[in-house]
């Protein structure tokens, strides 16, 4: 088992955002998390690499307990890629430097090694020719692909995606999804929050439906989409189809 999440709890003031979430991820698996907004999906992802500290519960990456206070969290984070909804590329750095920063400062690669590695990853997302461009000079879709290259370059065991296409214009979603599909097919372990049902259906090994801080139902896509067991899942899937249209 690559990732194991056990009984995660998180509250902000009075609001209990995560109310006991448990699931696991095998190496090479892709799981997609769906659920209404404000349900705690982003909080869950951030608790996994402790960008947010969970109040209770444990997270294991292989045999290492991430939630242990003794762990060197920077070392752990370097092994877990994170792709944000609004990209969060470093504004003052070119695409190449965005990808190189972690390699040089966290992994300690020489500039030459880091450059080679970064250029490989940029080529992998189809942006080798944009290496010298600043984020503001790139489209949203290109920025998100650079941010995926930045995560990939660290050679992570797992990548967390938090609604990677939600901030994009519709015509730019496809280029990001196709990079993600390729990644999934190449055997990367991925945990993806998204409302792109077409993507979920075609690459997810399992769909997790979350609502109000708990997992309501989970299962393989054909089962969850065709014959959901829980009335809340049925209701959510009906609304999401209205909102985003059916199959894409």
């Amino acid at each position: 088992m690559l990732l194991r999440v056990e009984d995660l709890h998180k509250r902000y003031g009075k609001e209990e955002v995560l109310r006991g979430v448990s699931f696991s991820l095998e190496k090479g698996e892709t799981k997609v998390i769906i659920g209404p907004s404000g349900t705690g999906k982003s909080t869950l992802l951030r608790c996994i690499n402790r960008l947010t500290e969970p109040d209770r519960g444990r997270v294991f990456l292989e045999d290492v307990e991430i939630t242990s206070p003794r762990v060197n969290i920077n070392k752990i984070r370097a092994q877990i890629g994170f792709v944000f909804q609004d990209f969060n590329l470093f504004t003052h750095l070119t695409a190449l430097d965005n990808v190189r920063l972690g390699l040089m400062r966290v992994k300690g690669l020489s500039k030459k090694e880091a450059t080679e590695r970064a250029m490989r990853e940029l080529a992998r997302v189809g942006l080798a020719d944009k290496a010298k461009a600043y984020p503001a000079e790139l489209s949203g879709g290109q920025q998100q692909r650079v941010s995926i290259a930045r995560a990939l370059a660290m050679d992570p065991k797992l990548i967390l995606f938090d609604e990677p296409t939600s901030a994009l214009d519709p015509e730019l979603i496809g280029e990001v999804l196709s990079v993600m599909v390729e990644l999934a097919q190449s055997g990367m372990t991925m945990l993806v929050v998204t409302h792109e049902m077409g993507f979920a259906r075609s690459v997810a090994d399992e769909i997790i439906f979350m609502e109000k801080g708990v997992i309501v139902e989970q299962g393989p896509p054909e089962q969850l989409f065709k014959s959901p067991k829980h009335p809340r899942t049925v209701e959510f899937l009906r609304r999401i189809t209205e909102l985003y249209g059916g199959e894409k």
């Binding site: 920077n74 984070r77 470093f90």
Partner: protein
């Protein structure tokens, strides 16, 4: 104020320029001290643990409240009370530099807080420590955003170097005063000449900073004025 007086003052221009070089040395010293301390206090105020944050805020408040001339005199007479003799020049750099650091800290703090929170998150998610994130991601952006405000502080402290006159530093004002006390009618032409010198210096400094801002400009990261 005849032509003859002007000619005499201008004949003494080398002396005035020599005084001005002392002002420039003061400026260099106080700006460097202010920059270094200002940066440290800004980072502490934004990212430091609570007690340090309070200390930084307190520091800023103290050094922005006390009149500079008073700071200068305190720095000059204070240590002497305890038998510590410091040169007037050093006292001036310390007093003016500490004051400037409080203002520069405010400039840098504002700029650090203007950098979107996602930048820190993305840096930490890569595995950078908080210190590395500040050093490699937050500060390079914040310093660029600070340039306009910093130019303002430069123009202010450039003039403030003449306050060193009060503790006996032989800078340009004192040189002008010497000219006037040697020959009374030279006073006004000497003061006007010093004023002109400051006009030129401020212009040159702001021009250089503008050029630096242009050189460091990055698309999507423009300094706000």
């Amino acid at each position: 104020m005849s032509l003859e007086h002007w000619l005499k003052v201008w004949a003494s221009l080398p002396v005035l320029l020599q005084g001005l070089s002392v002002n420039l040395a003061l400026l260099g010293g106080l700006l460097s001290l202010g920059f270094f301390l200002g940066l440290v206090f800004a980072v502490l105020e934004v990212y430091g643990p609570k007690p340090l944050r309070l200390c930084a805020a307190l520091y800023s408040w103290v050094f922005r409240s006390i009149p500079e001339i008073l700071l200068l005199l305190l720095m000059w007479f204070g240590p002497a009370q305890f038998g510590v003799r410091i040169a007037p020049f050093t006292a001036a750099v310390l007093a003016l530099g500490l004051r400037s650091s409080a203002y520069q800290a405010q400039i840098f703090r504002g700029a650090l807080q203007a950098v979107p929170a996602g930048q820190m998150l993305a840096a930490r998610a890569l595995g950078l420590s908080k210190f590395q994130a500040v050093r490699h991601v937050l500060l390079p952006q914040a310093l660029r955003l600070s340039l306009a405000g910093w130019g303002n502080e430069f123009a202010v402290v450039l003039k403030d170097t003449t306050l060193a006159y009060a503790v006996g530093v032989v800078e340009v004002m004192r040189q002008a005063r010497y000219l006037g006390s040697r020959e009374m009618p030279l006073t006004l032409p000497a003061y006007i000449t010093v004023a002109l010198l400051f006009l030129v210096l401020t212009y040159a400094g702001l021009f250089a900073l503008g050029a630096l801002e242009k050189r460091l400009r990055i698309p999507g990261l423009e300094a706000r004025r």
